[in-house]
């Protein structure tokens, strides 16, 4: 019997069984940022501990950093302090740190892959649930809490129980106007936000195999929204082509050797999975959320669900969501007025996201009432987009082109919704209050759907707005 990727990576990183029955697992790459990590250094100090493997940890700032004026000290004194604590700690413990203006700062889950730090077969963790993103390269990539950040700093290991693995096969091909974001929103809609609890998701099938690495990252990124602690895609030639030549990837003969090792982690043909789900790519439409969980999603041409279609607590969820979103059961979602459009985040803040939007909005204008933000995921993405003139295309269309950061995905920096504004957003969470206003409303969708909403001033079908067929 063969093994799946999860089992192989787990096996290669297992240190021992702990007395509790948990497994001690070695972590190959630890990414840290200014919001969930500074406290961990304080915990180390309290216990008089050192960082065990500083060369396997890498830091940047993303959550709190403003995307307009990044001049230090920051206007927000607490944000300034958190960044300073991270900066001081990385200097003290000899940890690589990419601050703003280093050329490599950005959202951790954009920076890791683009520098080639993320490589197949690794265990990766970060104090951020969207660490799942790195699974696109065939890694076990886990979001962790701050005490676990402490554990990794001090020991480079975590105490864990193994997950089950669910293989999700997406067959066939996608229709025009349907993107990787729609694929993952569709999966979460089908399996639910609790469906993945206890599982790692393995994404497979021709739709996944035909995706670029950036598209694969979008899919794996939102595994956590489906309840799965992590998601991954088996490494293949697309993975290898992406990695070749990146700064942290070996070159020459060492690269060839690495490739052989990387590919060996892919699930064997005769592997087994704890569960399998098959989805047809042709069934996936441009998808948007209507509620306050990422699973409360419909195709853009469907109507908003009726609470009477459910019962008990599930019915309450729909009632509460509609009340919060100020939407009515039975109405079309299309045509819902939009106040803000946001393109960015670790889900959809990479070059291809901005490129695909620029191709569509060139020469068009965002509706005057809509505040539109484009926030590149990293300084590298920003530089590449500028080199292609994408920033100008966005600005001419009426978008603000910002500096890199998490921005309005979680609104810890000054980029926030006001009052009950409704935001068409390429981010990953539509939770109550997520975008910075306790009454703000988020509708998740793909970047090109956000572009369509920005131009129409309402939720619209990207295929109709831009004549895609």
């Amino acid at each position: 019997m063969g093994k799946n990727l999860y089992q192989k990576v787990w096996g290669a990183h297992k240190v021992c069984e702990l007395e509790s029955g948990q497994t001690q697992v070695f972590i190959g790459l630890h990414l840290i940022h200014e919001v969930t990590s500074p406290q961990a250094f304080g915990m180390l100090k309290d216990k008089g501990l050192d960082v065990a493997y500083p060369e396997l940890t890498c830091a940047t700032v993303d959550h709190i950093i403003p995307t307009d004026n990044q001049a230090r000290p920051l206007a927000d004194s607490m944000a300034e302090k958190m960044i300073q604590v991270l900066s001081d700690a990385t200097a003290e413990y000899n940890i690589t740190y990419y601050p703003p203006q280093s050329g490599s700062q950005g959202i951790v889950h954009v920076v890791g892959p683009e520098l080639g730090m993320t490589q197949p077969g690794m265990t990766i963790c970060c104090g951020d649930s969207h660490t799942a993103t790195h699974g696109a390269f065939g890694c076990i990539a886990l979001g962790i809490g701050t005490s676990q950040v402490r554990d990794v700093l001090a020991s480079q290991t975590l105490a864990m129980d193994p997950l089950k693995v669910r293989k999700i096969t997406v067959n066939g091909k996608l229709s025009p106007g349907v993107t990787a974001k729609d694929v993952i929103l569709h999966i979460i809609r089908l399996l639910g936000v609790q469906g993945g609890v206890g599982y790692a998701y393995e994404y497979a099938g021709s739709v996944i195999e035909n995706m670029t690495m950036e598209e694969r990252m979008t899919v794996c990124n939102m595994s956590i929204e489906g309840g799965a602690r992590c998601g991954y895609i088996n490494p293949d030639q697309t993975t290898i082509d992406y990695l070749k030549g990146r700064p942290k990837v070996p070159a020459g003969a060492a690269f060839d050797k690495a490739v052989e090792r990387w590919l060996s982690f892919a699930s064997d043909a005769d592997a087994s999975w704890d569960d399998e789900v098959v989805i047809e790519g042709a069934d996936i439409a441009p998808t948007v959320t209507w509620g306050v969980t990422p699973g409360q999603a419909i195709a853009v041409n469907e109507t908003i669900p009726d609470p009477d279609s459910a019962s008990g607590l599930q019915k309450n969820l729909i009632v509460d969501a509609l009340k919060y979103m100020k939407l009515k059961a039975g109405d079309p979602i299309k045509g819902t007025p939009v106040d803000v459009a946001f393109i960015g985040s670790c889900t959809n803040g990479r070059l291809s996201d901005f490129q695909s939007v620029a191709d569509l909005i060139k020469g068009k204008k965002v509706m005057a009432k809509v505040r539109a933000l484009a926030v590149p995921g990293s300084e590298q993405v920003d530089a590449q987009a500028r080199a292609l003139g994408l920033d100008k295309i966005f600005e001419e269309a009426g978008f603000e082109w910002r500096k890199p950061g998490c921005s309005m995905c979680l609104a810890m920096n000054p980029d926030k919704l006001m009052g009950d504004q409704l935001c068409a957003s390429s981010s990953n969470r539509n939770f109550v209050g997520r975008q910075g206003s306790p009454t703000g409303r988020t509708v998740l969708m793909s970047p090109i759907m956000v572009a369509a909403a920005a131009i129409r001033g309402e939720i619209a079908d990207v295929r109709e707005v831009f004549g895609i067929s």
Binding site: A12, H13, V15, C16, L18, E19, S20, G21, Q22, Q24, F26, G28, V35, T36, Q39, G42, K47, L49, A52, Y53, D76, M78, K81, M82, G127, S129, G143, I144, G145, T146, S147, Q148, D151, A154, S155, Q156, T157, D161, V193, Q194, V197, G198, I224, G227, R229, R261, T293, L313, L317, D320, L410, A411, M412, R429, F431, V432, G433, R434, G436, P438
Partner: protein
Amino acid sequence: MSGNELTKINGTAVYIEGNDIDTDRIIPARYLKCVTFDELGPALFFDERFDEQGGSKHHVLDAPERQGASILISDANFGCGSSREHAPQAIQKFGFKAVIAGSFAEIFHGNSTTLGIPCVTMADEDRARLAALVSEDAGHEVMIDLENQSVTCANQSFTIAIKNSTREVFLQGKYDPLDALLANGQAIAKVAKSAGYV
């Protein structure tokens, strides 16, 4: 014996109804601006409890008869979303010692365990009965028995579930794994080498 063994947790309880309660609701992102977790208690469920002017929304957590509760009861997929440890930290600093729910999001569960907050699950029907008992009378004591995997309240007994390894770490008082992890330095170094990291 480490002195931290946790076998029974008892006290009054609060039921917060709803599936899929995410960590953004448990603690809004603006309270993540801190370099220690010490002051997070008052921020628990802040936007559920107070309006934008700071006026009380009369949330169950603020009911006078619920003050001092030590067990939080909720429904399925509690703690989903962001990995912020600030969520269980706020729950603990507010005064809760354990959480009973239909199910837990994994990261929240792991964070809570490390902090010494047992997260136990209970079947829907039982949980509804327990929630009703607690909601009827704020004085009802709830007792979680990790050893026997049961909860008692008002002379009624319910079965709870908890992963074996999680149960063990509480019974052994070793829910903070750091010492156990640090004890294996040589084995760690061996894997660092065999897996190609050093």
